[in-house]
């Protein structure tokens, strides 16, 4: 079985940010993102300030910037949409390098690029410093309905089962003389997807019934010393508070 419940974006380090409980980090990222999104798009200085804040958090969390930059490319499709906007937008137009660009479209492109990137980087920092199990515990402590945390817990358990079973089935096919080529894999995939689903379910059902037999009631046991301290809340409030300060300063200026 796969070891632990790390996820691809988790960066195992030991830093002050990693040690913060998940719930305070979730709240901090949420508030920070809200501040970023409601900032008027023409306040360029404010966005530079937000970027500096995130860089400070990344340094505190010992997350290297190239690591962040590489993972932020998930945003690329929306950046491409942003590039199309100045050409497709309506209203007043300016000429730049011989191209006629819409002013509204240019602002729109900047808006999507700046807010999208800041949001993605903030989420990446949360993901890099939080394991999946901690995240679910954090959501549980934030009074997230138990149905959600229960589904999320099982989802986490089943993702490993699905990946492992898919690998086993592939090895089984290969050892029976199956020769996968690029497009030819599609057929085997289609045939095995239903079987994979059932195998994973039956495997997981046994685990679930074993958990129920051992007293599972829909909630994982919480580790002792559960709740976040006031200091931890204060530490994580630095990010959204600083962002809000920048936003207010930029708007009042």
């Amino acid at each position: 079985m796969a070891g632990g419940h790390a996820h691809p974006l988790h960066l195992a380090r030991d830093s002050a940010v990693h040690r913060l409980p998940a719930e305070v980090k979730i709240v901090a990222v949420l508030l920070f993102t809200v501040v970023v999104v409601i900032t008027p798009r023409a306040e360029f200085a404010a966005f530079a300030g937000y970027a500096a804040l995130l860089a400070a958090v990344a340094a505190a969390a010992r997350v290297p910037l190239p690591w962040l930059a590489k993972r932020a490319t998930i945003e690329l499709p929306f950046v491409l949409l942003a590039v199309a906007l100045p050409f497709a937008g309506h209203g007043e137009r300016v000429t730049w390098l011989g191209m006629s660009l819409s002013v509204d479209g240019l602002y729109g492109a900047w808006n999507i690029f700046a807010k999208g990137t800041l949001g993605v980087v903030a989420s990446l920092l949360l993901a890099a410093t939080t394991t999946m199990r901690d995240l679910i515990l954090g959501l549980d402590r934030l009074r997230c309905p138990r149905v959600f945390t229960q589904i999320a817990t099982f989802m986490l358990r089943y993702m490993d089962i699905l990946a492992d079973d898919a690998r086993r089935m592939r090895i089984a096919r290969l050892s029976r003389g199956y020769d996968p080529r690029f497009l030819w894999q599609v057929k085997a995939f289609a045939v095995s997807v239903g079987a994979l689903f059932l195998r994973a379910f039956e495997r997981g059902e046994r685990v679930y019934l074993a958990m129920v037999a051992r007293g599972y009631t829909g909630r994982l046991p919480r580790p002792e010393g559960a709740d976040a301290s006031a200091t931890q809340w204060a530490a994580s409030a630095l990010l959204p508070a600083a962002a809000a300060g920048i936003a207010v300063a930029a708007v009042l200026r």
Binding site: H7, V29, T33, V34, V37, I38, R41, I74, P77, F78, L80, L81, A84, A88, G89, H90, G91, D104, Y107, G108, N111, I112, K115, G116, G119, V120, A122, S123, A127, T130, L135, L139, V147, F148, Q150, I151, A152, T153, F154, M155, L156, Y158, L162, R168, A172, A190, V191, V193, G194, F197, L198, A200, F201, E202, R203, G204, V207, Y208, L209, G218
Partner: protein, 240 residues
């Protein structure tokens, strides 16, 4: 023009509209939690987790639809067939929340929009179509697969039009609406076909081997469910 290959990011739709849809999503999910709790018995709880994991896995499968345009599966119909509309919407929402928090896929402030499109619209449309079609089509594995296919295509296109509506209400830049609507619909018909094939094969296999696991067939079952689980017909290799 490149159409979203991921969920809606921050800053695509303005603050007030995002907020309004977040409130709508919270309300609708509260109803789902309330109605879903009755459904979530010992059999459905692990199933809901598996459906969520499955949707998570297939959503990572971005496939190229046209040059420069890729899309991913949504999974609302599959969830509605296997675990019912209430728990199904909760499954898709859970996937979206985890993707947003741990995989930076989809903006945190756009979560309400994404949940409305994919979890609420997608699952509701899928379930209504499935419930309607199952009255007409034979309730065999093949009939169920056909139902899953048709409902998937329709629900994916309806989900994509949810984005068009949100963009019309609060898009941060004015674009011509019919163009977006048609592009989104066109791309999502193709995505829907891919999704329909996966949902169809999965549902057909499950209903052939373990029909007791298919929520959409529950109403049509004549005999009460036996107390003991039937012997698994598939062979699971080794111990769990």
């Amino acid at each position: 023009m490149n159409v979203e290959a991921m969920h809606i990011a921050n800053g695509i739709v303005n603050g007030p509209v995002s907020g309004a849809f977040a409130a709508l999503a919270v309300l609708a999910l509260a109803v789902c939690v309330w109605r879903g709790r009755a459904d979530l018995d010992d059999r459905l709880a692990p199933m809901a987790g598996l459906v969520a994991a499955f949707i998570f896995a297939v959503q990572m499968l971005n496939f190229q639809v046209l040059p420069g345009v890729s899309g991913h599966l949504l999974g609302g119909t599959l969830a509605a067939i296997l675990v019912g509309p209430w728990v199904g919407a909760l499954c898709v929402s859970t996937v979206l929340v985890i993707q947003c928090l741990l995989f930076a896929d989809g903006g945190l402030t756009a979560l309400g929009l994404n949940i409305t499109n994919m979890a609420l619209l997608g699952t509701a449309a899928g379930y209504l179509l499935v419930a309607g079609l199952l009255r007409l089509l034979p309730r065999t594995p093949t009939g169920l697969a056909a139902t899953a296919f048709v409902a998937s295509v329709a629900s994916v296109v309806i989900s994509s039009q949810g984005f068009v509506l949100e963009y019309w209400l609060g898009g941060t830049t004015r674009l011509s609406l019919p163009t977006i609507s048609l592009t989104m619909a066109g791309v999502h018909v193709l995505i829907g076909i891919g999704e329909g094939l996966i949902a169809g094969t999965t549902v057909a296999t499950v209903s052939r081997v373990r029909p007791d696991l298919v929520y959409a067939l529950r109403r049509f079952r004549a005999v009460p469910r036996p107390a003991a689980a039937p012997t698994p017909a598939t062979v699971a290799g080794g111990a769990a």
